[in-house]
Subunit: 392 residues, 2 copies
């Protein structure tokens, strides 16, 4: 028996006035999701605990059975890993944006006009910037990641990114005494990179030159026990965002380059299970619709995904499927909230309940009751018969 | 967005035979509570954890987000704070009753005939009793609080109060070695106060002279992070009992002197929110009816409160309201029990569920499922958009 975890990022929502107080999920045509809810067992789930607003990073860690309170210090390492940097336990990593600053280091645009091609800039930096520790730097469009390697580093440094334009970049501060060296190295990198970037030819032609790197989300790389070691499972991930790729890569997953089309991704997952035990699929677009306050767009994403799910109905005859959002991103809030999310588990031996619809409210009456993200992996291991008995 | 927490003390109950096996809440006319349940999301809640009998003190601490297992050692400090004594972290405090004892220190009446006027007695004690540490003593009718201040004090001392009449007062014992000094000082206080009281003129005329102070509920004052510091919320409390005032005062709440009339109290709360973010209202009388084994009286209290709640239905159009008892006080038991309590949350963006009645059993099908008192503050912070995201 195999398992698929389908994470519909930011899917869950709150009642929307324009939808006659339905949520986008409730308002959507979702025959396949409802059919799976009808076949399966459902419930509601707290990504962390009631009321706590989870990030995609902390929630995915919890879904995979890692305790975010122990392994999560910041987004940097997961983002860096997802961008393809080989990072190991103890490395300190940051997310960065290519940004535009003026001569006084006032931020003009936090994304340098969403610059598309940063390969040359990345190369110039890695060739010309020398630091007192080893480092790796990679970029993908306007986004980048910086990893500092060596002893005596700490993630307790504040963001350089002021998180708004019109204000000066912030010199990083050591939030704890032991982080002073790291704060100095980070600033050294930023100033040296700035010197390289502002003189770089392609920047001379840009109205919004990519002349500064705004670092944020400092984190120390945790040593995650791999899925193979932790659960004896071969795992793969199909996702489009760096953070999800990064988390699963650190957990020893194979990363499969996602097809654009949702049904193609589901076929990728089913194919991947020929040689693996479990696949996590992350669908990002519902979250983006939530952040953009667009309930109609969220409905569109849900309906598109739902129409792509035909093969999963066949899949669950002999295998297990878990469907859940990693958190709520209500369109009325435009941010993650601490509401519960609906969850369904379908497969040959689940105790199917009376719930016939997959949405935030119908699943409150489901057979799972109210569980937490950290319970998902033990439940899957149990269903696919890979559990160990506690006791005799 | 603002929030009101309406705690209906001891409201929850068990089926009562005389009410045809309904609970007092189920048997009451409660149009407003039901309307709020219909608009809102409901559920059941364990004040501490399933089956545990909570005090009003430990439950309110949990509702406010303080861990009673960490901050609660006894009722003394909260009672002392509520009676107006300025206490600080480390002070050891006791609740006391003015009582009547005979010449052999046998308790004749634990409340000295519920003596009303104890101001003179309080004054005589504070003027004449000298101890080896600083102390403060205050009274309100037959009740009083004693606070010992200084180093090397401990709350690990047994009660002087034998909790029944006809038996001798108990010399306090040190429950741990480090409490020996405190036990001695407490007994020194009690004997010296007894000498002052038994000679005091007004006592000579009383059939039940207030000639002894029965101390109990020793506790060490915790250093609670204030609501402002912990949540960045300005808070106020409207309550009639010292213990609730004391807890909220220690949590940095403004204490508003409660009007007798319930609808006046609700108006006080709404007015207080002009300059504050959150108000806790405690309604005590349902608990008293439970302790007195009076289901009909409990129904009367519920119906009186319900008729006073009109303004709250308007309030929840743009703000959030949480209604819950702090614990069950079943009339058939006459004491707090470990049953769950019903909870409702109403406000503009809650996922309203199909529950249309506010009572112990209807809310078991609510959208919140079964939560705990400690989840209330994270849920409120999330709804009023004062949450911090864990992760990114």
């Amino acid at each position: 028996m195999k398992a698929i975890i389908l994470v519909i990022d930011g899917l869950a929502d709150r009642p929307v006035k324009a939808l006659n107080y339905k949520t986008p999920l409730e308002a959507s045509d979702r025959n396949n999701l409802n059919a799976l809810a009808k076949k399966g067992i459902t419930g509601i789930l707290d990504p962390i605990s009631p009321g706590i607003r989870a990030g995609s990073d902390t929630s995915h860690l919890a879904i995979l059975g890692y305790d975010p309170f122990k392994v999560y210090t910041g987004r940097g390492p997961f983002e860096a890993s997802g961008m393809g940097i080989e990072i190991t336990g103890g490395d300190v990593a940051f997310r960065c944006n290519f940004a535009t600053v003026d001569n006084n280091l006032i931020v003009k645009d936090r994304r340098a006009g969403r610059i598309e091609n940063t390969e040359e800039l990345e190369k110039a930096i890695t060739e010309q910037v020398k630091l007192e520790v080893d480092y790796e730097f990679k970029s993908l469009k306007y986004r980048a990641a910086l990893v500092l390697k060596g002893k005596g580093l700490s993630c307790e440094v504040s963001d350089i990114d002021p998180h708004e334009s019109g204000v000066k970049v912030k010199k990083p501060e050591a939030l704890k005494k032991e982080a002073e060296k790291t704060a100095e190295i980070l600033w050294d990198f930023s100033i040296k990179a700035h010197r390289v970037l502002k003189e770089y030819p392609i920047n001379k032609d840009r109205k919004l030159p990519a002349n500064f790197l705004l670092a944020r989300g400092a984190g120390i790389t945790p040593e995650l026990r791999s899925f193979k070691e932790k659960y004896n499972l071969n795992a793969a991930c199909i996702a489009t965002t760096a953070i999800i790729k990064g988390i699963t890569k650190l957990a020893g997953f194979d990363i499969i380059e996602a097809e654009a089309d949702y049904s193609a991704r589901i076929s990728q997952a089913i194919d991947a299970l020929n040689t693996r035990d479990i696949v996590l699929i992350n669908i990002k677009e519902a979250d983006e619709a939530g952040h953009d306050n667009k309930p109609e767009e969220k409905i569109r994403v849900i309906e598109k995904l739902d129409r792509s799910m035909d093969r999963l109905l066949e899949f669950v005859i002999e295998n297990y499927l878990v469907v859940l959002p990693d958190h709520s991103t209500p369109c009325g809030v435009g941010e993650h909230t601490g509401d519960t999310v609906p969850v369904l588990i379908a497969g040959p031996e689940v105790r199917s309940d009376s719930v016939e619809r997959f949405d935030e409210r119908s699943t409150t009456l489901g057979g799972l009751g109210r569980i937490r993200a950290k319970h998902i992996m033990p439940i899957i291991l149990d269903l696919i018969n890979k559990s160990h008995k506690f006791g005799a």
